[in-house]
């Protein structure tokens, strides 16, 4: 994209090109993720589209699905947001634009490489860390470079009060590389079996809790007031929320392996801490809802607010769920079942993907200097995804209960597979809805970009609309 010569201070502050690139990469990966997930779901209906093809073995496709979601779609989306929010909030540019570009190409090259190597059968055997072990050191270096690039402007600010988004961002930037190294190297090379699982559980949890969650919350804390043109309800509350996250989230880890051979006191500690997470959730949710409540009508008129609203609602629901499912009695039934799959889809799709999508709808048209091409396509997108994820959630939670009860009742294993069949059909159906919704999005974004080119040809230089 050719940006017109940058003149004003506001325009040189943010490197719009890198923001756009990361968003576009992100959109590319959501399609990889959806297609992979959809194909894998067909395996559950005994209708896998590529039977007997080693490179497209269902298990490998499943790992591509999660890798594309976490490291392709969400990470790229968040990086784009960071490249925009950090300069805006600190008033400083990132360390170096060339560095941003190097990191962009290196990072996305690595993610693509990871996808290729997983398909070739070189996955690493750790959940959410399936990136082949040979690539891990390079990813770690890439993340460190990114952190340096973004931390420098934050450290340079001398403001006595930083906006809450910056708290979350700085903490996440410090946590992420450590978590990544911890979770990818220790269980792979040093600690076997139960010890390894103790560390893996910390990685599984912290990747969501200390990378995705703080960046997600930071991004809506910035976007919501800006897009509504209303102040955040309470700054103090947001800081309590941040501190609650820092205090309780890292202690949750072992709740991913309850009833496992990990020492029982570790499991108890993680259960108690998981209940404590509610401090975070209620402050964040209350703060966001109270901000939206200052002008409810915007829910009807502004589709960006709508995306944030549903994301926040989903956040509340998943977290209430968490308090229930973390108890040992619930774990006894639901662990290992589709309940967990439902929960993770609601978190990563219902909450964080909705927030990232809100950002795309807000920022991309502004960068291109035109309004979004079609409000009605955007509405289709929203309602498709909202319906799909809600149905999927109810469907998978019910499936989980059925499976868990049948296992406990000692009925033959295959009976529980047969009983899950109707639920798996519904799941595939919701996957198709998500694909349709995302295609609406792609068309809309593409036509918006076309619009901006037409505008440019009419020599009305597109100007990024500053927020």
């Amino acid at each position: 994209m050719n940006q017109s010569p940058q003149t004003t201070e506001a325009k040189t502050l943010v490197d719009y090109q890198i923001v756009t690139w990361h968003f576009l990469a992100s959109i590319l990966y959501i399609f990889v993720a959806i297609l992979a997930g959809l194909s894998f779901s067909l395996q559950f209906l005994q209708k896998y589209p590529f039977p007997g093809v080693e490179l497209l073995s269902p298990g490998r496709i499943r790992m591509v699905h999660t890798q594309a979601v976490a490291f392709g779609w969400l990470a790229n989306g968040f990086f784009a947001v960071l490249y925009y929010v950090v300069p805006k909030l600190t008033g400083n540019r990132v360390l170096h634009t060339t560095l941003s570009r190097i990191v962009f190409f290196a990072y996305n090259g690595l993610v693509l490489g990871a996808v290729a190597l997983i398909l070739l059968g070189h996955a690493q055997g750790l959940e959410w860390a399936e990136t082949p072990a040979v690539l891990d050191p390079f990813i770690a270096i890439g993340v460190v470079l990114l952190v340096i690039n973004l931390m420098v402007p934050i450290i340079k600010t001398r403001a006595s009060k930083m906006y809450v988004s910056l708290w979350y961002i700085s903490a996440a930037l410090i946590w992420t590389p450590i978590v990544y190294v911890l979770g990818n190297f220790l269980p792979q090379y040093f600690f076997a079996g139960t010890s390894g699982a103790t560390i893996s559980s910390m990685y599984i949890h912290d990747l969501v809790g200390l990378f995705v969650t703080p960046l997600g919350i930071a991004s809506v804390y910035y976007l919501l007031p800006v897009v509504m043109k209303k102040p955040l309800y309470s700054h103090a509350l947001s800081i309590i929320g941040f501190w609650g996250l820092a205090f309780f989230y890292p202690l949750n880890s072992a709740h991913h392996y309850l009833f496992s051979p990990i020492p029982m006191w570790t499991q108890y500690a993680s259960i108690v801490a998981s209940i404590g997470v509610h401090v975070v959730v209620y402050t964040v949710v209350f703060n966001l809802f109270a901000t939206i409540a200052s002008d409810w009508t915007q829910l009807a008129t502004n589709h960006v607010v709508r995306w944030i609203f549903f994301g926040t609602l989903a956040y509340l629901i998943t977290c209430v769920q968490c308090a229930v499912q973390v108890t040992l009695s619930a774990q006894s039934i639901i662990h290992f079942t589709d309940w967990v799959v439902g929960h993770s889809h609601f978190v990563l799709f219902g909450v964080f993907s909705f927030w990232v999508t809100a950002w795309m709808y807000y920022l991309l048209p502004r960068i291109w200097g035109v309004p979004i091409y079609s409000e009605s396509l955007a509405r289709w997108h929203f309602w498709m995804q909202t319906l799909a994820i809600s149905i999927m959630q109810i469907d998978l939670l019910s499936a989980g209960l059925v499976q868990g009860m049948m296992w406990k009742s000692l009925s033959p294993f295959i009976d529980s597979v047969a009983a899950s069949m109707p639920f798996w059909w519904v799941r595939t159906f919701t996957g198709i809805m998500i694909l349709v919704g995302e295609v609406c999005f792609l068309i809309n974004i593409y036509l918006t970009w076309q619009d901006s080119r037409v505008t440019k040809q009419n020599s009305l230089t597109p100007q990024p609309i500053g927020a």
């Binding site: 005994q46 298990g59 296992w407």
Partner: protein, 204 residues
């Protein structure tokens, strides 16, 4: 309101330190405790009877176990099968003795393969439940053996000779690994469970 915000910097630093204390409390200490219990490197001392034709020496057999484990990872079997038996939900009746911390402290469990989802049954006690031939037939095309199965077919680990699929080295390695899973629990004397006693009740 302004009061709490004055201490924001303190909160940020405290938040980051909290992370380290969590790493120490919920990772370093349990790991230290576990690694003191027992760590045993020797995954096999002899070639089991059923594999004598396939693997001549213990070293060959061990190499196959590791190859099987690597394929188990590469094909994401571990995303559909767990490898620990919980002391709840009647699992010791369905699968066998409850998993103990020590039993997975060996080189084949580096990285650990506990798993978090059971699309198929737990495999930590798989050894000896099915014959090798059953395992080959199942791996080649699960629905041939269990019609309602949703497990993928792994036909590329077989070659067709005279219209009959014959397992390649990879398939043998996977089955060797499957038949190894849990075998150590049975013959380890210090295990407090008696594997033979706890069997699935007969099917109604």
């Amino acid at each position: 309101m302004g009061f709490i915000e004055k201490f924001s910097g303190v909160f940020l630093i405290a938040g980051i330190l909290m992370f380290f204390s969590a790493v120490i409390g919920l990772a370093a200490i349990p790991v230290w405790m576990l690694d003191r219990t027992q760590a045993w490197q020797d995954v096999a001392r002899e070639v089991p009877e059923d594999f004598k034709d396939d693997f001549k020496t213990v070293d060959e057999y061990k190499a196959a176990l590791f190859k099987g484990r690597d394929l188990y990872i590469a094909e994401a079997c571990w995303h559909c099968h767990s490898q620990f038996v919980r002391p709840t939900a009647n699992e010791s009746l369905r699968y066998g003795p409850v998993s103990m911390p020590g039993e997975s402290q060996n080189a084949l469990n580096l990285p650990q393969l506990f798993g978090t989802r059971r699309v198929g049954p737990d495999l930590s006690r798989e050894s000896g439940k099915k014959s090798n031939d059953w395992q080959y037939a199942h791996l080649y095309k699960p629905t041939n053996v269990v019609p309602q199965s949703v497990m993928p077919s792994y036909s590329w680990y077989f070659e067709i000779k005279d219209n009959v699929p014959v397992p390649k080295y990879e398939a043998k390695a996977i089955v060797a690994y499957l038949q190894w899973l849990g075998s150590t629990v049975k013959d380890r004397k210090e295990s407090e469970y008696d594997f033979e006693q706890e069997q699935l009740p007969p099917r109604q």
